[in-house]
Subunit: 181 residues, 2 copies
Amino acid sequence: MLDVRTLCLGVLHRGDSTGYEIKKMFEEGPFGHFLEASYGSIYPALTRLTEEGLLSFRDERQKGRPDKKVYTLTDRGRTRFKEALLGQPAEDKFRSEFLFFSLFAELLPPGHMARLIDRQLALIKDKARVIEDRQAHAKTDGARFVSGFGQALYHAAIEYLENNRTMLEQEDSVGQLQNAQ
Amino acid sequence: MLDVRTLCLGVLHRGDSTGYEIKKMFEEGPFGHFLEASYGSIYPALTRLTEEGLLSFRDERQKGRPDKKVYTLTDRGRTRFKEALLGQPAEDKFRSEFLFFSLFAELLPPGHMARLIDRQLALIKDKARVIEDRQAHAKTDGARFVSGFGQALYHAAIEYLENNRTMLEQEDSVGQLQNAQ
DNA sequence: GCTTCCATGTAATAGGTTACATGATTTG
DNA sequence: CAAATCATGTAACCTATTACATGGAAGC
C-alpha cells in the first residue's frame, strides 16, 4: 500500500533531505531494518513528487563534493502525507530464506548449517548494535518505540538461535567434532 | 536469490503436491509466515519445471471436485534442489508499514494509533495460534526449529506491544478516556 | 594505488502481483 | 441463498531492482 513516493513524503516530514540521505535512512537511519528503497526508485519518486507540487528543492553547492538537491515538503505535500496516514497499513511481511534452508538442514553437507547459523547470528547482532545506537539518539516517542521494538525482536531471535541451534546441527556430529579441534 | 521455482522444488521435496496445495503451504503450512508465493507465480513455475524435466505429474480425477495435477520431483529435480541449497540464503527481509505509522503516531487523529495497535496485536496473535498448531504436527527437527523460531518472535512482539503501547497512545489521552467508558 | 564515500540519474530487465475466467460443491 | 473451498490457468500491469554512467575527494 505504501509506495516509495509515500515513504519519501514521510522521510521529508521529519526534515529536509536529499535522495542520497533518504537512501541512508532506509539503511541505518530511523527507517532502517523495516523498510527498503533503492536509488533507482527514490530518485524518480522525488522527481515525480516535485512535478506534482508535493515537494520543492534547492540546489546546494559544496566544496569538494558533488552538488546536492535538498528537498522540502510543500504544504500540499504535508497534507497529502497526513491523508496517507489515515489509511490502514499493510500487513507486516517477513521473508526468510534462512528459515527455508533450516527446514532442509538434514540435506546439507556436514557443518554447513552450523556456518549458516553463525552467519545469521553475526548479521542479527550487527543489526542489533546499529539499532541500539539509534535508540540512544531517538528524539520522539515514535522513534523510541520503533527502535525498542526492533531490539526486542532481535534479542529474541539471538536467544532462540543460540539456545536451539543444536536441533539443526546434531545430524552432522562429524563436522562438529572436527571444528572442535 | 530463491525464486518461486526453487521454492516449489523445496515444497515437493517434502512430498508430492498440487499447485493449489503448494499455495496453502505458504499460507498456513510449514512455509507459512516467512515466505510467500501467489498462484500467478506458482502455476507457471510448475509448468516450466516440468518442461525442464525437474518435475513430472499425474492427473487425478475426483468426484465433485476439479481434477488435479499432482507433481513429483524427478531425480534431476532432487539433485537440482540440493545444489540450490549449497548457495547462501539471501538476508532476511522484514517490511512493516505498522512501524512506519508508529513513527508518525503524533500525526494521527486521537485513538487511531490505539486501533492500529489493537489490530496489530490481533493479527500477530492469530499467526501465533496457527504456528502453535503447526509445531504440534511438526515431523522433522527442521520443522520444529522453524516453528519454534516463529513462536519466539511472535511472543516477543506481543509482549513488547502490550508493555509499550502507552508510548504511542499518551498523546491522545482524550480518545483513551472515551474508550474507557 | 585501491577502495569507499559522496551524489544524481537512466534504462533494461525481470519478476511477481492482481485481476480475470470458469465452475461444481460444500458450508453457513 | 450467499460465500467460501477446491482447482487451474492466463494476461496485463506495475514496480522496483540491477547495472550502468560519471567523477572528485578522502581514507587505507
